[in-house]
């Protein structure tokens, strides 16, 4: 299975959710700022990277896990992917997309804008980190919900 965590820029929420899922981040407590910053792609991508699938790691079953930024077109991109998969036949590898956009809080949004769009990383990054820590439990629930039952997240033509 190809597992894709999707959010706006593909650089904060989806990275954290994918890292939680692959076990790179602990489920026990929210990560410290240093742990977040040490994640690959975390708060490092800009708009030009949107649409690229960034490999985060593999899960316990050996499935490849990716992060994807789709801007405000997440739903449309999922529809496009679903349509395209209809052409690939039934024998293809299943694709699951986990939408992390509803889990982005105001602090993450604001910090992300300041850091990525305005380029003021020293101001934006601490805000993003606080925002991510604030939504960590919700992200954990999302990841656990996918782990327990991936069916609703599978793209079905």
């Amino acid at each position: 299975m190809i597992i894709i965590f999707q959010c706006y820029g593909g650089t904060h929420t989806s990275i954290v959710a994918a890292s939680l899922y692959t076990g790179r981040l602990s489920a026990c407590s929210p990560p410290r700022a240093e742990e977040l910053i040490a994640l690959p792609y975390y708060d490092r991508m800009d708009g030009a990277e949107m649409g690229k699938l960034h490999f985060i790691g593999t899960d316990r079953r050996g499935n490849n896990v990716f992060a994807l930024g789709s801007g405000r077109w997440g739903k449309e991109i999922r529809q496009v992917l679903t349509s395209i998969l209809a052409l690939t036949g039934e024998n293809r590898e299943p694709v699951a997309v986990i939408d992390c956009l509803p889990y982005i809080n105001t602090l993450t949004r604001l910090g992300g804008y300041i850091s990525r769009r305005l380029g003021l990383t020293s101001i934006g990054r601490p805000l993003v980190n606080r925002g991510i820590r604030g939504s960590y439990r919700s992200l954990l629930r999302l990841v656990q919900s996918f782990e327990q039952n991936p069916e609703p997240y599978l793209l079905r033509p």
Binding site: I2, M50, G51, K52, L53, N64, L68, S70, G71, W73, E76, I77, Q79, V80, L81, S83, I84, A86, L87, T88, G89, R92, E93, V95
Partner: protein
């Protein structure tokens, strides 16, 4: 069979022009317009949301599709090409996505004004349509060369 997908943002119409031009390279803008109008009449008009529809046979083992969504073509291209690369391992049916970008305005606005389907507008868009089809043909040739 190789699949060519012509993509246009917000409306199927530019993608339809490209697919029609691909099927009948010698067609004039007026002939293309008439055939696209007929296709739209047969298929219940333009679609507003994301859609992927078969258009026909492009010759030489090529199937043509038209696709629309509200997402920017660059984003769709990057996402699909990344996913194709992952799915394409051992896939016998490769895809080529070509975005036709002749619209400078949003698809909904274009549909409302009906400008896109006017002969004058189509003539203005014609070079871009020819370029998109040419791009698709070059990509087919390249793929064939790589596979031979």
């Amino acid at each position: 069979m190789l699949k060519i997908i012509y993509y246009s943002r917000g409306t199927l119409i530019p993608a339809l022009f490209c697919a029609e031009k691909h099927c009948r390279p010698a067609s004039t803008p007026e002939q293309t317009l008439r055939r696209v109008q007929q296709w739209l009449a047969d298929h219940g008009g333009d679609v507003g949301s994301a859609a992927l529809l078969p258009y026909g046979n492009g010759g030489e083992g090529v199937s043509l599709y038209v696709m629309t969504a509200s997402a920017p073509p660059g984003l769709v291209e990057r996402t699909l090409s990344n996913l194709f690369r992952l799915l394409g391992r051992g896939d016998a049916d490769p895809f080529i996505l070509v975005s036709s970008l002749p619209l400078s305005r949003s698809g909904s606005a274009a549909r409302q004004t009906g400008l896109v389907l006017s002969p004058k507008k189509l003539r203005a868009l014609w070079p871009e349509i020819e370029a998109a089809v040419q791009q698709a043909r070059l990509q087919i040739a390249l793929l064939e060369k790589l596979n031979s």
